[in-house]
Structures are given as C-alpha cells and as structure tokens.
C-alpha cells in the first residue's frame, strides 16, 4: 500500500488505479456485486413468489407466513455468510461465489415470500368472486385476477428486497468474497482512511443507484391500477403503511 505518492483524499484514491492492484479494479468489483445480487435475487424470487402466491390463494400456512418475516429479521446476516463460507471451504468449494450467493438468496426469501403472500391474499375479494362466477378455474383465478391485482405490491417488495441484497453483498467482503465491500475491508486492514472512505462511498452509491433505477423502472412500467383511497374525513391523508416494511438484516 505504500507507494511513491500516497493519495491524500478520497478523490485522489479513486483516480489512482495503482491503489487497486491487489484488491481488484472498481468495474471488476462492481460487476461482482451486481451479479451476485441479481443471481441471488432471481433464485429467491423463483422460489418464494410461486409458493407464496399458491399458498395465499389456497389460504394455507397463514401463521407461518406471518412468522417468516420475523424469523428472517432475527437471523443475523453475518451468521449465514460466515457459516456458508466455512461450510463451502470445508467441502472444497472455495470462498466464492456460491456461499455468498446462497446466503444472499436465503436472506431475500422472507420479505419476498411474506409480501407476495399478503399481496395475493389481500386481492379484492369481489374481483375474485366475480372471476369464479364467470367460470374461471382456480389456476386462472390466481394467474389472471389475484396476481395482476397483487403485482404493484410484489414489485415494490422486489425493489426493496433487491436494494437490500445489493447493500448486504458488501458484507461478503468481510468473509473474503469479492464485491465493492472489499475496499472497506482492505482499508480497515491497512488503516488506509482514503480507501475506507472511497469504499464506503462506492458501496453506498451503488445501493442508492440501484434503488433509484428500480424506483424509476417501477414508476415507468407499472400501470397504476387498484383502488386509490380517498382522502377521507378530517383532512387526514392516511399514510401508506403497507407490508413492505424494509426487512431486517442489513440495510
């Protein structure tokens, strides 16, 4: 880390690529962060959304789906990462990328599951009754009525969850994984203030950028349907306290 000219501030550090010969270049680590996160999110969504939608349609497992968010919130992120990496090492699969992707996928499951469940269950009972009355089969009721009605909430939950996964990916670096968190770890390891600050900026900037892109994307793509609550009585605008509580773990 000791070169001919030490950077004296974050911007110099960011501009000097010779600082990153050991830790890997920024595009390389950004790419690692993004593909780890996207893959983990895709796996979690593929598992959680269909199961939750079907269970909610059948009104099954209501108690468990209520608990699942709490369970997810209580299990520390670092536990999963630490254990997965250790188990992977002992079985010869290395530090990266599978244990980290697996841990992230597991972290993304509870919020996706719980929000999909609630969204489908809360789909307008009138619409569902009408669909049955005109003779739709149960599968059609789910795919043509309940899921479209639930879509805005599911997509919103997906956005919150994916942002969280990207933010959490940084922690993978603490367990010897790749990703932008690596600069923070290297910075702390060598007491390099510029590197800590630069790493923190990169991690935070990526999370915020992903959130902003997803926000814009959902605004553009989602039709705004569903009932809009009228500003009822006493001039109070009810605050939207939907179930998309950002879920535990690591923001």
């Amino acid at each position: 880390m000791i070169g001919a000219s030490e950077p004296t501030n974050v911007w110099q550090w960011l501009g000097d690529s010779s600082q990153r010969t050991v830790s890997g270049s920024i595009p390389e680590q950004l790419w690692a962060t993004l593909w780890h996160s996207l893959l983990a999110f895709a796996i979690a969504a593929a598992i959680a959304i269909p199961i939750a939608a079907w269970l909610a349609h059948r009104r099954r497992a209501e108690l468990i789906s209520g608990w699942i968010v709490n369970i997810g919130r209580v299990i520390p992120t670092i536990t999963l990462l630490g254990l997965f990496v250790l188990i992977s090492l002992r079985n010869g699969y290395g530090f990266e990328p599978w244990p980290i992707v697996g841990a992230l996928a597991l972290l993304a499951l509870p919020p996706l599951f719980a929000n999909t469940y609630t969204a489908v269950r809360e789909a307008s009972p009138d619409a569902v009754a009408a669909a049955r009355a005109v003779g739709l089969t149960e599968t059609q009721v789910l795919t043509r009525v309940e899921l479209p009605l639930a879509a805005p909430l599911i997509v919103a939950a997906g956005r919150v969850t994916l942002t969280q996964v990207v933010a959490t990916e940084a922690l993978g670096a603490l367990f010897a994984g790749a990703g932008l968190g690596i600069y923070v770890r290297f910075g702390f390891a060598s007491d390099d203030i510029q590197q800590i600050q630069a790493g923190a900026l990169l991690v935070a900037g990526t999370a915020m950028a992903v959130d902003a892109v997803l926000w814009a994307g959902t605004r553009l793509l989602l039709p705004r349907w569903g009932p809009t609550p009228p500003g009822a009585g006493r001039g109070r605008q009810p605050l939207d306290l939907t179930t998309i509580q950002p879920q535990g773990g690591t923001p």
Binding site: R73, I75, P76, A204, A207
Partner: protein, 259 residues
Amino acid sequence: MSDATARRRWVAWALVAAAAIGALAWAVARTRGLDEQTQATNPIFRWEYLLVRERTPEELWARTREHLELTVVPVVLGTVLSGVLAALVLRFRVLQGTVFTLAGVLYTIPSLALFGILSTYVSNWTSAVAALTTYTLLIITRNIVAGIDGVSPAALDAADGLGMGRRQRLLAVELPLATPVILTGIRVATVTTVGLVGISKVIQLGGLASYVFDGFNRDYSTLIILGSASMVLLAVVLDLALRGVERLLTPWARRAGAR
C-alpha cells in the same frame, strides 16, 4: 383473534418449546461422558466451549453487555428523534414527503459504508451509535405517524365532543390508541438493530458478533454458532419484553379482544 387461531398459535409455541427443550436435553446427554477426543470428531459445535471452558461465561457476559448497550442506546435515541420528526410531520403535513424520503435514503446506505465513513471522523463508539440510530428513524417515525393517523375518527369526535383541547386530545386519546402501532415500530427497530450491531465489528465493536468473526477467522464453527445463537436469543428476549410492555400499556386491547 378467533379461538381457532389462538389454539393454533398455542400449539405452534408448544412445538417450538418442545423442540428447544429436546435440543437442550440432547446437548446435555451428548456432552456427558464424551471425552475431548470424541468431541473433536464432531466439530460443528463443541459443547465444552460453552459448558466447561472457564473464561466463557465472563466473556459471553461482556460481549452481551456491549451488544445490549449498542442496541438500547440507538433505539432510545432513535425513538426520541423519531418523536420529534413525527411531531413535525403531524403538525406540518407538507413535510411528510421530505421527511420520509430523507429517512428512506438514509436507510438505503449500507451499514458497512456508514460505519466506515463515520469512523474516519469520530470515535468508533460514536460512529456505531450514530449509524445505528439512523437506521431506526425510518421505522419508528413511520409507525408513530401511521399509528396516530389510524386513530378512528369516532374517537376523535368523541374527544372533541368532550371539549378536549388539541394537546389534551393528543395525550389522552391519540397517543394511547396509537401505542400498539408505535411499539410495533420500536420492536422492529430493536430486532433489526440487534442484527446490525454485529457489523460494527469492522470498527472494533461488534458485541456478540465478535464470536462469529473470530470463529470464521479461526475456522472454528463452535464460535459462529455460539455468537449467532446468543444474538438470536437476545433479539427474541427483547422482542418478548417489548410485547410485554405493550400488553401492560394497553389493557383495553385484551379486554376488547379485538383491534
């Protein structure tokens, strides 16, 4: 809550309790009569680290205390700050969007980044408390506002009809009725903070999570499990304690049996 749901909840709790007791009994049975060599062949969790090693209780207590401190201080600070923010939002509705967007943006900053950047300016302890407080703001503020917004108009009309002033109505009607929602916010914030404290290990704190990182660095899974289990236990205990507080503060909810 219907009778059937109550019964099922009870059964679920009984199952969890039975599983916990079973696991403990199994653990004790396994530990007895096992010499160290036998245990070494089963290295996922070495019970003698917890039950035999002399320094463990002291160390465990010290780390639990650090963890508890780093949870309670930010949650208390966060509750006070959120109270102020919520009061602003409730008084000046135009601020609602700004306050929640700001809190949302702060919530998006990954904890690793926040700990990292703050620790280059202020002491480690201050950075940890400041960062963790930041994360409680969104959850608690939102629940205070939603709780007070959710008070039924009938109750407000009744309060007005009794001739209550604005302040009196807030203290005697709105706050008590919003208590369950507000306490839910504090509870969620607390459980979330217990998990986040662990990441402060990067700035030489970390509480119980120190075990997790030590265990990882030494390839010693016993420590990871010990640290994680104690973190989960701490979160559950705090959660139950706050649920208890909620029951004490809202006796009418039990009598009415419905909300």
